[in-house]
């Protein structure tokens, strides 16, 4: 069955309706062991090799809570300006699904560990405060793979296989309060929120937050209300939106889709929707109209969590510098404009530039290479900057070589290319490719003499006072030296030989 989805153009949709957003983000914690057992959590291990009686829910097995995961959750809550519960419990969320071994998930229900906080995000120079409803701790499910069928979904599949390695990995759920007033910036606000959250997790060191590996997953709730109304519309929940760009696109698409339905007098169905990366659209999943009854009750196998206030205070005092604060500090230290800082932020280059500066490069040089040549290379290869095969230390070394006059920018680009292609360190590439600047005065003098002889006209012009014509001669020298000459020194020598003082 195919249905065509009618969309209303974004501008028109925003003229008539106001969006309300809600974001539920799941973060897999990077603890060494699982939430309720001692199994390893290594990503990409052979299926069903990181399992035990507890995470397979064998009869008789019991959970024991991972203290490190509780600590990480509290630190996340503190970084999000939440209140930390002095006493709370895990709860069982009961439903049957083959990738959930116990057929209940140990989660938290009406007693979350952290409540009522906020995260400030910046969009187009404006700070938007996103309220945080709650942060709670739970366990991940196993991973089902549906084999056969066209969509990879269970419908139409021949059979399904389950990998329980993921079952029981600690998962933190972060739920925003409804985000109102974002207006036409709603998609950007959603993206900025997830970006900021991701950086926060990284700064806290609690997760590797790799969206493509599923260690950060986002569900996007969108509803529309007619302009002038204050009553929220029915929302949809778009599941597992797996990149920052997709967060933005999913919100935009839902706004356009819901606006089209509402404007024709239709009704939004409260449901789960699936986002499709390829088309940027969402399709209907499970209807939530017949609300599933999860029969939550306090988990009797675990004792309540009662974090000692003194310990919480210690954790709070030991929080690292938060990303937004750090960005402000770095911007000041580096002396860059808002626009440049934003560009670095968007390109995920701040960490890399900072590390390059730490390795001795001047901030301006570090930024120039990462945001220029290296950004271009990453873009060509369609990979994140951090995935390029070059380290901040190596970039700093290239900066140093340029500063010392051993390389010019053109040669430096070739060195970077060599490093990216796996030819070794910058020094190794310089040696193997023979990229040293020609600073042997005799050799340079000989090249200049050749160039002057071959370009007598230009030489005459310079002699005649047309200093600007020297550019062509320097160009000739660079060409003849295959870029290895020091252009500034060549210019000086040419003018000297022609008896002109610059």
């Amino acid at each position: 069955m195919t249905t065509t989805t009618t969309l209303m153009p974004y501008d028109e949709a925003l003229e008539r309706y106001e969006p309300v957003l809600g974001l539920e983000t799941h973060v897999e914690l990077g603890t060494a062991s699982k939430m309720f057992c001692g199994c390893a959590t290594t990503f990409g291990a052979a299926p069903n090799t990181q399992v035990c009686p507890v995470c397979l829910a064998l009869p008789g097995a019991l959970p024991v809570a991972n203290e490190k995961a509780i600590e990480s959750t509290i630190r996340i809550g503190l970084a999000l300006n939440c209140s930390i519960a002095s006493w709370c419990r895990f709860a069982r969320k009961n439903y049957f699904y083959p990738d959930m071994p116990k057929n209940y998930q140990i989660s938290q229900y009406d007693e979350p560990l952290c409540t009522d906080g906020y995260l400030d995000v910046e969009v187009d120079g404006t700070v938007v405060r996103v309220g945080i409803e709650r942060v709670h701790l739970e366990e991940d499910t196993g991973k089902s793979t549906h084999v056969g069928g066209a969509t990879g979904r269970i419908h139409g599949a021949d059979y399904s296989i389950v990998d329980y390695n993921r079952a029981g990995i600690p998962l933190v759920e972060i739920v925003t309060k409804p985000i109102e007033g974002a207006d036409r910036l709603a998609p950007e606000v959603a993206r900025a929120y997830v970006t900021e959250l991701r950086e926060l997790m990284r700064a806290l060191g609690v997760s590797d937050v790799r969206m493509e590996e599923g260690s950060l997953r986002c569900d996007v709730n969108v509803s529309l209300m007619p302009r002038g109304s204050s009553e929220w519309g029915t929302r949809t929940e778009t599941k597992n939106v797996n990149s920052l760009r997709s967060v933005e696109r999913a919100v935009r698409h839902e706004i356009e889709r819901q606006a089209a339905i509402l404007s024709e007098g239709g009704r939004i169905v409260q449901e789960t929707r699936h986002f499709h990366e390829d088309t940027g659209t969402t399709t209907s999943g499970r209807s939530k109209e017949e609300a599933q009854d999860y029969r939550y009750f306090p988990e009797p196998d675990l004792v309540p969590i009662a974090p000692d206030p003194a310990w919480v205070a210690e954790l709070k005092a030991a929080l690292p510098e938060l990303p937004s604060v750090r960005r402000k500090r770095l911007q000041q230290e580096w002396g860059v404009s808002d626009l440049d800082m934003q560009a670095m932020h968007n390109a995920d280059a701040i960490d890399l530039v900072e590390a390059t500066v730490a390795a001795g490069a001047p901030p301006a040089d570090a930024r120039k290479w990462w945001m220029g040549e290296l950004a271009r290379r990453a873009n060509e290869a369609a990979v994140p900057l951090s995935d390029l095969r070059i380290t901040p230390d190596q970039v700093a070394r290239v900066c140093a070589l340029v500063a010392s006059g051993a390389l010019n920018d053109k040669l430096a680009r070739q060195v970077l290319e060599g490093v990216l292609e796996g030819e070794g360190t910058p020094d190794e590439v310089v040696a193997s490719r023979g990229l040293q600047i020609v600073n042997d005065e005799g050799e340079l003098s000989r090249i200049i003499d050749e160039v002057l002889a071959a370009n007598a006209d230009a030489a005459d012009k310079v002699r005649g006072g047309k200093i600007a014509a020297v550019g062509a001669l320097v160009g000739g020298v660079m060409k003849a030296s295959r870029g290895k000459a020091d252009a500034a020194r060549a210019r000086e020598l040419i003018l000297e030989k022609l008896g002109v003082s610059a």
């Binding site: 009686p53 064998l58 959970p63 024991v64 071994p101 116990k102 009854d293 029969r295 009750f297 196998d301």
Partner: protein, 496 residues
Amino acid sequence: MSLTRKSAAELAALMASGEVSAVEVTQAHLDRVAEVDPKINAFLHVDAEAALEQARAIDARRAAGEELGPLAGVPIAHKDVFTTIDMPTTAGSRILEGWRPPYDATVTRRLREAGLVILGKTNLDEFAMGSSTENSAYFPTRNPWDLSRVPGGSSGGSSAAVAGYVTPLSTGTDTGGSIRQPAAVTGIVGMKPTYGGSSRYGLIAFASSLDTPGPFARNVLDAALLHEAFSGHDPLDSTSIDAPVPPVVEAARHPDVAGLRVGVVKEFAGEGYQQGVLNRFHDSVELLESLGAKVVEVSCPSFTTALPAYYLIAPSECSSNLARFDAMRYGLRVGDDGTRSAEEVMALTRAAGFGPEVKRRIMLGTYALSSGYYDAYYGQAQKVRTLIARDFEAAFQQVDVLISPTTPTTAFPIGERADDPMAMYLADLCTIPANLAGNAAISVPCGLADEDGLPVGLQIMAPVLGDDRCYRVGAAVEKAFESRWNGPLLKEAPAL
């Protein structure tokens, strides 16, 4: 005297002095299994060769001069609700028929570490739900006192095996009375330790907040020795108490109640109680007074609401605990013919694999936890639970222990209550409060009912972590009664 008539402590002493070997002791009990078990059906699984192998290992260690625990070489029967790596574990259910666990329960591991020789796994009501062992998916177990009657439940295989002299010791689990009630109706000793005093890791869960492993024996000291052997903190069970095991063995060796304050629970008498049971209870009260205890009547008004609260809490937890039996990873699988969905296979398997009582409780619990009913049922039951705990606390301000009949009647005939769940549930009337509050409680024999000549149990309840009081009072009662009876009550049981 035959080895099978001896207590665990006596057998241990004989083996320690080298008079008999563990192999001889084990063989004697295996012979008794072969002779008696066809009549009482206490075992779901017996592994004679494995038992003899364990016994040989104990003998070898002893011969090598190794220091062994106080129960090394003593045979034991293990309730088939604890996982055992070398034996099938079924919980009395078809849904786990033939399942071989890849791990040992903590209790199992500690039995092995103590050098106890596991003869086999005993029968039980399916998933420990019942008071007669008739809910076993395999067969009912019979009471050695009268083969037409139930041995109590859910740990009926374990009580029958001990009462039938098939083993001096066995393990049980007590969720609402599943150790104390079978002990009472078979004339033996059964102890429910403080909740969290013994590990639940590897105990197939019925109701997590209530399940408590405990010992069966023919006398109080043996029960204490076994209690001590497998109890204590377990890091694999979050609800296990990180405190030393109360001095239960020492208490069992000091049967002294002089000056002790004993409270009789006023609410546990009257309608529904068999006269012979009440008579023996009154004998016990008089006995305790004669031993110098100060007996007073204590009111625990909330205890009358314990049964309904229990039948909301226990089924609620079981409805969730038993969700894992879904045919995906282990156990029975029905209808997997390549055309059915996972959900259909789950449903068909659960329909075929669970018995009627288990289904009844899953349904009850699912209902009680449902949105819109939660507050009225599960939530309300939790409040009752708090009130019961407060009644206990108030009572223990006045007295050191509370006493009551263990169960309102003697062993009932097989089949009599099988189709009447309410009548069956009433068997746990007096035992449930201690489960809801987590207290320690023991049942010791206190005579035979006048009407039917069947054993009656006296329940002694102590505060949380006051397990040693149960043993001290139990041992005093045992000593005084045995001197009055010229031996243990079990000598009155017919020969099998």
